[in-house]
């Protein structure tokens, strides 16, 4: 096999190897364990960047770095991986964000801090599952990686979380599992109705499953329902979002960052990678409903944010709204909308990941997550942390020139002209409602900034020496994200140039 064929496997499995090595190291060697976690996730990042550099941007439609070998013959599942312009940004986002999480955790590990070994091993295991999800081109392989993230995330929340951590972890676990069972059912249904163009048997191959008829539109719609449940819970879309505030709220900082930054994207990615291209007819029938739920998510998320007192729960609900924009873009079934969705995912990963880092840092210093207890006056007490917070919060509300802007505005624009066959009056009203959502988003974010950062600091915090400004570990972990927020805002083509070719190919199915 050539280097290109090994590349994706390296990105996916190096973290797993790292996790294996860590479990073999004695518990007392905490420094060594941290170092190996850094090396493993760093290596994955390096190979992820290599993939980015070697990627042929002129052919972003075709799957590159492909590897396709035998795996489970008895069910026709193959070890088939590859990335196109849709998957690549998410792969790079995953390896980058995970690496930064490991960097951050070098010094700032959540309590209990004596369980270094399990902590880093689980993060690396999680990374393998996340990257694998974005690179799989076989439904069984995809499913395996998709589920692989559950157990590590469960333990990350349940062991290193706060407050009702076990409750939240279990809720996260059962919700996702519930959805993915239906997803698996959908996969199997497609498998049994498929005809492999080469062998004549059934197939799990995502590429070969494209353009299959599956015996009837009614059946396709039913299968789409199964996939929808699996993906929509992960996104999460209203009304399947109730696990999210709990899981995000009680997870440790790094858990929240990875949950918001990557795990939610797996759901939206599932729509783009599997549901849309494999079941285009059903996608068209379902699009108005998905768009409707997306708009409800935007408005509902924003309204809930206005009512939150807990900073982490507020950011969690803001994710519901932001992912609503992503799903609105997808539901238009246009190239513009799907481009916007992918951009929105990357931007949300960077911005919300950063917001959770900040929330974690505030919790670390103030030992409370209640907004009106920390604030007012963070800018006064912690000028640097406060300024960064203002910057990121403004990026999150979608200010032009920062990363949050492009995904939202293009999603709204695309709703003006949805794919042929979709009711444009319906989608235009979605656009108007989504527009109202952006105002609400600006409203709660500005209000948050005001309550938290402005004003005079409380007496009880004013002279607390334990509350210190930005620490070195935070500088290392945060600066790439801050640069990313600015860079993506100024130069959005960095993403669109990768995605556009693949997305136009996909959107052609709906014209």
């Amino acid at each position: 096999m050539t280097f290109d064929e090994w590349l994706l496997s390296l990105v996916v499995f190096l973290p797993l190897v790292g996790a294996g090595v860590i479990t073999a190291i004695p518990k007392a060697q905490a420094a060594l364990i941290r170092l190996i976690a850094l090396a493993a996730s760093g290596a994955a990042l390096v190979f992820g960047v290599v993939a980015l550099v070697r990627f042929d941007f002129h052919h972003s439609r075709t799957f590159q770095f492909g590897v396709n070998t035998r795996w489970i013959d008895s069910i026709g599942a193959r070890y088939h991986m590859g990335v196109d312009g849709i998957a690549l940004p998410l792969v790079v986002l995953t390896v980058a964000l995970t690496f930064l999480c490991v960097v951050y955790s070098q010094k700032l590990m959540p309590k209990p801090q004596d369980k270094v070994k399990g902590y880093f091993a689980l993060i690396l295991l999680l990374e393998t599952g996340m990257v694998g999800t974005f690179t799989s081109l076989d439904l069984v392989l995809f499913f395996v990686f998709w589920e692989m993230v559950l157990v590590p995330m469960y333990f990350i929340i349940a062991i290193w979380g706060s407050e009702r951590k076990e409750y939240s972890a279990t809720k996260f676990f059962l919700y996702t599992l519930f959805g993915s069972v239906f997803m698996l059912l959908g996969f199997l249904a497609m498998y049994f109705r498929s005809v492999d163009p080469v062998t004549g048997g059934h197939t799990f191959d995502m590429i070969r499953l494209q353009g299959q008829h599956f015996g009837g539109v009614g059946f396709q719609n039913l299968v789409f329902l199964g996939l929808f449940l699996g993906f929509a819970i992960k996104v999460p879309m209203w009304p399947f979002h109730t696990w999210l505030p709990d899981a995000h709220g009680d997870a440790p900082t790094v858990g929240s960052v990875l949950l918001a930054g990557i795990l939610l994207k797996m759901g939206a990615y599932g729509f783009i990678r599997i549901a849309l291209p494999l079941l285009p007819h059903a996608a068209k029938d379902w699009a108005p409903y998905i768009g409707g739920l997306a708009v409800i998510s935007i408005l509902y998320g924003a309204l809930c944010c206005l009512a939150q007192t807990d900073i982490k729960r507020l950011i969690a609900f803001s994710s519901v709204g932001h992912m609503g924009f992503v799903m609105l873009g997808i539901s238009t079934l246009t190239d513009r909308g799907i481009n916007a969705a992918i951009f929105g995912m990357v931007a949300h990963g960077v911005i919300t990941g950063m917001l959770f880092f900040l929330a974690g840092s505030l919790y670390e210093r103030y030992h409370t997550r209640v907004i009106d207890d920390i604030g007012p006056g963070v800018l006064q007490k912690l000028p640097r942390v406060g300024a960064i917070f203002v910057f990121v919060a403004i990026a999150s509300l979608g200010l032009p020139g920062l990363a949050g802007f492009w995904g939202e505005v293009l999603a709204l624009l695309s709703a003006f002209n949805p794919a042929p066959g979709l009711s444009s009056s319906l989608f235009r009203s979605y656009m108007v409602l989504g527009g109202i959502g952006t105002i609400l988003t600006a409203g709660y974010m500005l209000w948050l900034i005001q309550r938290l950062t402005l004003g005079v600091v409380r007496d009880k915090w004013a002279n607390d020496p334990a509350i210190d400004d930005v620490r070195p570990a935070e500088v290392w972990a945060w600066s790439p994200l801050l640069v990313g927020i600015l860079a993506l805002g100024i130069y959005p083509r960095a993403i669109f140039d990768i995605t556009n070719g693949a997305v136009t190919g996909l959107a052609r199915l709906f014209t």
Binding site: W71, I75, E147, V151, L177, L188, F192
Partner: protein, 500 residues
């Protein structure tokens, strides 16, 4: 006809039954040598047993790729199907001996010779079971498997619950044997044959050796009686009542033996009699299995939710697992050959994978039980901080039993699920999913207790060397299937018992 199955000694294919002969020699040796061993050297019986099992394994390997062999006038057939199960039983027996050496030496010191003798006797029955293609041979094999079980279940002589375990097991076992025997007698009455292939021929041709009224109803009744009999052996609901009490009361290695080896042997017989002899009556037995499988999964899982004792938890979970194993048999009614073949392979693969993960879980229970002989689930709290290795192995086995992706247990369930969906029996698929979720909850809650609670007792647990080996071996096997699911599934489709 009975007369046709007469044979002379010279016609016996000694090579084909060599594994059984070696086991017989070994168990005799144990019986005799034990008489002359002083109490402190009784564990030498374990070495003899191990040698016997090893010898049988070598003998079995010499038979691989030797083609199908028949002997005793077709009563005993050695084909791929039989070979697969024999390898499984030998592996399980070897692991069981490894697991129990120290336990026996400590708990039932002076009578452990009998234990090995009975274990080998039971193994002998197991080896015959998948080869038995005759009602009488099947019955003898089944009794040879079960009767030693009655005795070893009561091996903790001074323990009331162990006595109760043995008596319950005995009563239910004898009753089920009687019921099954009745069914077999009816079949013989109708077909005038005890040979499974001959029975199949008569049943599918519907030309009976003598005129008989309502032949089909009699056959249907007989099939159901036999089904009930096997239902006891594999502890399927509603014939499962003996299992939890017996598992809990027995010495833990015996519980492992009953829930893995004895159960798998029951399935070996069940599958061969149903597919070979009653292949033309799938419309009678498959719906029966559908009901039993549905009940078995659901009731096993629901009751498992409430258990406080780890052995009882594993007992009920093993009942639920039997339900998943029965599922493929429930969907084959009047289905195409391809679907039947897939269902057959799925059931076999499930049994293989289940055996190793369940054995692994029991191995950990034996280890923890050395410190906490009451085997309560709360004893596992914080195990991860006392014995990280044991806790990790247990978590792995539990996740696998739960069918968590991507463990070996998931693949087992996946194969079954696929065969059920492929046959179009959606309600069973839905029920299976619901049950898997219930199962996940209780397996995972034990896992969570090990990792999320603080230990009450920080004392380390001394785990004997042989037991550590057994646990590591099981982790390796389950991990291998996790990564490469065809590891077992590779064999099952080849083990063609019948030409579908």
């Amino acid at each position: 006809m009975l007369a046709q199955t007469a044979f002379s000694l010279s016609s016996v294919d000694i090579h084909a039954i060599l594994p059984e002969i070696i086991i017989t020699v070994a168990l005799m040796a144990v019986l005799v040598v034990d008489l002359f061993l002083p109490d402190r050297a009784k564990s030498a019986n374990g070495i003899i047993s191990m040698a016997g099992v090893g010898g049988a394994a070598i003998a079995l390997m010499s038979l691989v790729n030797g083609g199908t062999r028949k002997t005793f006038g077709g009563m005993f057939v050695l084909d791929n199907y039989a070979m697969l199960f024999k390898f499984l039983f030998i592996a399980v027996a070897a692991i069981l001996i490894f697991m129990s050496v120290t336990y026996l030496n400590e708990v039932v010191r002076n009578i452990q010779g009998e234990f090995y003798f009975l274990l080998l006797t039971s193994l002998l029955g197991m080896l015959v079971m998948p080869s038995a293609r005759d009602l009488i041979a099947l019955f003898i094999a089944l009794e040879t498997v079960t009767v030693p079980g009655f005795i070893i279940a009561g091996f903790k002589k001074s323990d009331n619950s162990s006595n109760e375990a043995a008596v319950k097991f005995f009563l239910f076992g004898v009753l089920s044997s009687a019921v099954m025997l009745f069914g077999m007698a009816l079949i013989y009455g109708v077909t005038k044959s005890t040979n499974l292939y001959e029975i199949a021929r008569v049943l599918s041709s519907k030309v009976y050796p003598m005129p008989i009224h309502h032949a089909e109803s009699i056959i249907a009744a007989a099939i159901l009686l036999i089904l009930v009999g096997f239902g006891f052996k594999v502890s399927a609901v509603p014939f499962h009542f003996w299992a939890p009490d017996t598992y809990e009361g027995s010495p833990v290695p015996v519980a492992a033996f009953l829930s893995v080896a004895s159960k798998a042997a029951g399935f070996a017989g069940l599958i061969s009699i149903m597919f070979v002899a009653f292949g033309s009556y799938t419309s009678v037995w498959a719906p029966g299995f559908a009901v039993i499988a549905a009940l078995t999964m659901t009731i096993g899982n629901v009751i498992a939710l409430q258990q406080k004792n780890i052995v009882r938890l594993l007992a009920y979970s093993s009942i639920a697992q039997a339900g998943y194993m029965l599922l493929p048999l429930a969907v084959v009614a009047n289905k195409s050959a391809a679907i039947q073949k897939e269902a057959f392979a799925a059931a076999l693969t499930y049994i293989l994978i289940y055996s190793f993960m369940q054995l692994g879980a029991f191995a950990v229970v034996i280890a923890v039980g050395r410190k906490h002989p009451r085997n309560l689930i709360e004893d596992y709290e914080g195990l991860a901080f006392r014995e990280p290795g044991l806790a990790f192995a247990m978590l792995f086995f539990l996740l696998s039993l739960a069918g968590m992706i991507p463990t070996a247990g998931f693949w087992a369930k996946f194969f079954v699920f696929r065969s059920v969906i492929g046959a179009g029996t959606l309600w069973l698929a839905a029920l299976m999913v619901a049950n898997t979720l219930i199962g996940l909850y209780y397996y995972l809650s034990v896992g969570a207790r090990m990792y999320l609670r603080e230990p009450r007792d920080r004392a380390r647990i001394a785990v004997p060397y042989a037991l550590v080996m057994a646990i590591i071996l099981m982790v390796v096997i389950v991990a291998a299937v996790t990564v490469y699911p065809d590891f077992f599934n590779h064999f099952s489709p080849r083990s063609t018992l019948v030409a579908f």
